[in-house]
Amino acid sequence: MTTLDRLSPGQRATITSLAAQGAERRRLMDLGFIPGVEIEVEMGNPLGDPRAFRLLGGVVALRREQAREIGIQVQPEETPTHVA
């Protein structure tokens, strides 16, 4: 369990929780940040902030403080399986 600001490019994660409250929480949910939704980093940022995330077929940019409000479960890396 970690938060979205720590998600690395190439990793996939599932949103598990939202720490934000009130209007901020509402806004994040309207944009698709809902527990159960899959998410990945779409675009990094050389300055570190903001970063763009891909979820529900669209792209949303968040600042680091906002991403820190979103709890995620990182999915295990897909290891290529070799069939003999």
């Binding site: 409250q21 009130g22 209007a23 509402r26 806004r27 949910m29 309207d30 944009l31 698709g32 529900l56 077929g57 669209g58």
Partner: protein, 284 residues
């Protein structure tokens, strides 16, 4: 709004199959802005970039500016069409992801739905981003069941190899879902038919409402709902307002504090200066 109007091709007004909806849909008369009376008001909503304005233009014959940038439809544009001896006034609302206002656009759209009470609300959704777009659809269904979902950009979805089961979606949402591609003119006829059926009550919607499944929320609703209903007996969407209050929606809290919430006359006048206000004065 573009002042430009277009003369629609003349169509025979009477024919023996005038009662058939399919036939009637082909008798669309685009009225542009030339409307002096109307039977039903249709609101057009949707996320930004779903082709909402293209749908508006296809139905009214107007050439409202179509372009890909945020906030293009700054407030709302209006136009009309005539179908099956019925005049429809179409109101194009700004693109919005949500009805819970955090921007002026969302407030315009929400106020129109709540206080303008359109007879039919068409929610235009992007078939290639269906899941995201359904957030708004579910929010609209919380307010009104008189909804038609226009599943737009189907041509693009096909190009991406996406298939959408519109019939199943209709069943799940409880309102008509019409696959279409407004820019290619596909599905316009079916959309018109669905609007007509909902407006005239021939399609009885069974809107999908989220089951909040939280006894604490239901308990809170049971406590405040009667108070809201007592304070604002004419409010058509008391449950929705109660949920927004529990949400901490500042614009709704403000509306209650200022006493403007139950003042449908005033709110309606604000949301619809030229339409409902007139009707309300006539009724009173």
């Amino acid at each position: 709004m573009s002042p430009e109007t277009q003369t629609a091709p003349a169509v025979p007004s009477e024919s023996k199959c005038a009662t058939c909806p399919v036939h009637n849909a082909s008798e669309l008369r685009r009225l542009g802005v030339n409307m002096d009376r109307w039977d039903f008001v249709v609101a057009l909503m949707g996320n930004p970039n779903t082709g909402k304005s293209t749908v508006f233009n296809a139905l009214t014959g107007l050439r409202q500016h179509v372009g890909n940038w945020v906030g293009k439809t700054v407030s709302r544009a209006e136009g009309g069409f005539r179908l099956a001896e019925t005049n429809y006034k179409l109101v194009d609302l700004p693109g919005t992801y949500s009805l819970v206002s955090s921007s002026h656009h969302e407030e315009v759209a929400r106020d129109f739905l709540l206080f303008g009470q359109p007879d039919v609300t068409v929610v235009v959704v992007d078939a290639t981003r269906l899941e995201r777009n359904l957030i708004l659809v579910l929010q609209v269904l919380e307010i009104t069941g008189r909804v038609v979902v226009a599943l737009n950009l189907m041509d693009e979805a096909r190009r991406h190899g996406l298939e959408v089961d519109a019939r199943d979606l209709t069943r799940q949402l409880g309102v008509p879902v019409v696959p279409m591609s407004a820019r290619r003119g596909e599905g316009i006829r079916e959309l018109l038919q669905a609007i007509d059926e909902v407006a005239k009550g021939r399609f009885v919607p069974r809107p999908r409402r989220l089951d909040h499944q939280d006894p604490r929320l239901e308990a809170a609703l049971r406590r405040i709902l009667p108070e809201i209903e007592a304070a604002f007996p004419h409010l058509p969407n008391a449950r929705w307002v109660a949920l927004r209050l529990l949400d901490g929606d500042h614009s709704i809290i403000r509306a209650i504090e200022e006493g403007s919430l139950g003042d449908i006359d005033r709110m309606a006048a604000k949301a619809l200066p030229d339409l409902r206000a007139r009707e309300l004065t006539e009724e009173n």
